[in-house]
């Protein structure tokens, strides 16, 4: 149990958040990181080749 407790929250995020203000936009840095990761995942899903491509070509 003590082992797991020592593992808990290696990087605690309970400290006050940072926010980006631009006109009426008020976005937390944490949310911005998540949005960037989601956009990157979307672009990767579009551009990365499907797995098993070479195997399919061999089967033809």
């Amino acid at each position: 149990m003590a082992f797991f407790l020592s593992l808990a929250a290696l990087i605690p995020l309970d400290n006050p958040g940072h926010y980006i203000h631009w006109h009426f936009l008020d976005l937390s840095v944490a949310n911005l990181i998540v949005v960037i990761l989601m956009v990157c995942t979307f672009i990767a899903a579009l551009l990365l080749p499907f797995p098993g491509r070479s195997r399919r070509k061999e089967n033809r």
Binding site: L10, D14, P16, F24, A30, L46, P49
Partner: protein
């Protein structure tokens, strides 16, 4: 027999190529496993939000004047809860969209009488308080105009309210039992007894926190805490989380409308934003049936990028 013309938005061309095996169960199982491992790793590395509970006891000890002022607003009927309307009371018509009185139609489903539920009834549960007992009887037997007179005198004097030696001090004259009521409720709150009194009486399990939450929501204390954590409506609070944790980023569109007119200045903002989002959700849901909109994916040709291998082979 005439052949129907091919409709590119509705009809799918017949596949004349070969077929290959595809194990969707295997792929789904791998996806679930990967997500499980990532979730556990993130939980170990970052933990999760662990804010301390906000109670009436914490509030009244941290800011007794704000508590006493809020208690007075419950008693004189000027608090947000007291004037909210449905589902708590009939003090106002509530949220509406033009002639559609949505809140009024839903009706009073969680009856709350702010003065009685937040102030008078909890005080009745206090034992060994003869002066309070007498003052509560005086309050109960007084006419509405007499009560209003007491409340008016106390409310006027409360602008100079102080908290001295653990007691609420207001130099009010002709305020009847109001000073005792506010003082004793403040002491009850500071001891923690009010937290319990506000959740009891709802069955065996006391899990209904509607009353303490409404009482807290009427305070300046709660508003300041929410403001400091960027959780209020005008701070895009719907998509934020406490501390430095990421929040509900997918609610960006819902909370966006609250930042711009007419939604941010309308008394019916919640109903208007809800209706707009329902219309937009319906557009998304029925996209395949909406001419023009349903042609966008076909004309955008993004699918050619995803299936580029296939389109290269068919050249």
């Amino acid at each position: 027999m005439s052949k129907k013309p091919f409709r590119p938005d509705v009809d799918a061309p017949e596949w004349k190529g070969g077929y290959g095996p595809y194990d969707i169960i295997k792929e789904g199982a791998i996806a679930v496993l990967v997500i499980l491992v990532i979730t556990m790793l993130l939980a170990v590395v970052f933990g999760s939000p662990d804010e301390k509970q906000i109670t009436v006891k914490n509030w009244s000890n941290a800011d007794p004047i704000d508590f006493a002022t809020t208690a007075l607003s419950e008693l004189n009927g000027t608090s947000t809860s007291a004037q909210y309307g449905a589902p708590y009371n009939t003090a106002s018509s509530g949220q509406a969209i033009g002639p559609l009185s949505l809140a009024k139609w839903a009706g009073v489903r969680i009856p709350i009488n702010a003065a009685s539920d937040f102030v008078i009834s909890p005080l009745k549960s206090l034992p060994d308080k003869p002066v309070l007992r007498t003052d509560l009887k005086m309050w109960a037997s007084a006419s509405t105009s007499t009560r209003n007179g007491w409340l008016e005198s106390y409310t006027k004097a409360s602008s100079n309210m102080k908290f001295v030696n653990g007691q609420v001090v207001v130099n009010a004259t002709s305020a009847g039992p109001v000073p005792t009521i506010i003082e004793d409720l403040t002491q009850m709150a500071r001891s923690g007894a009010l937290d319990q009194a506000l959740v009891t009486g709802n069955g065996f399990y006391t899990t209904d926190f509607t009353k303490p939450l409404l009482f807290l929501a009427d305070s300046g204390y709660m508003a300041n805490l929410a403001d400091a954590q960027h959780l209020t409506g005008d701070q895009w609070g719907m998509m934020n989380e406490t501390g430095s944790y990421p929040g509900q980023a997918w609610l960006w569109l819902y909370t966006f409308w609250y930042q711009i007119p007419p939604f941010n200045s309308s008394g019916n903002g919640d109903a208007l934003v809800w209706a707009l989002m329902m219309v937009m959700s319906a557009l998304l849901l029925f996209l395949p049936f909406i001419p023009g909109l349903r042609s966008i994916p076909r004309k955008l040709k993004l699918y050619r990028l995803v299936w580029r291998e296939h389109y290269q082979d068919t050249k």
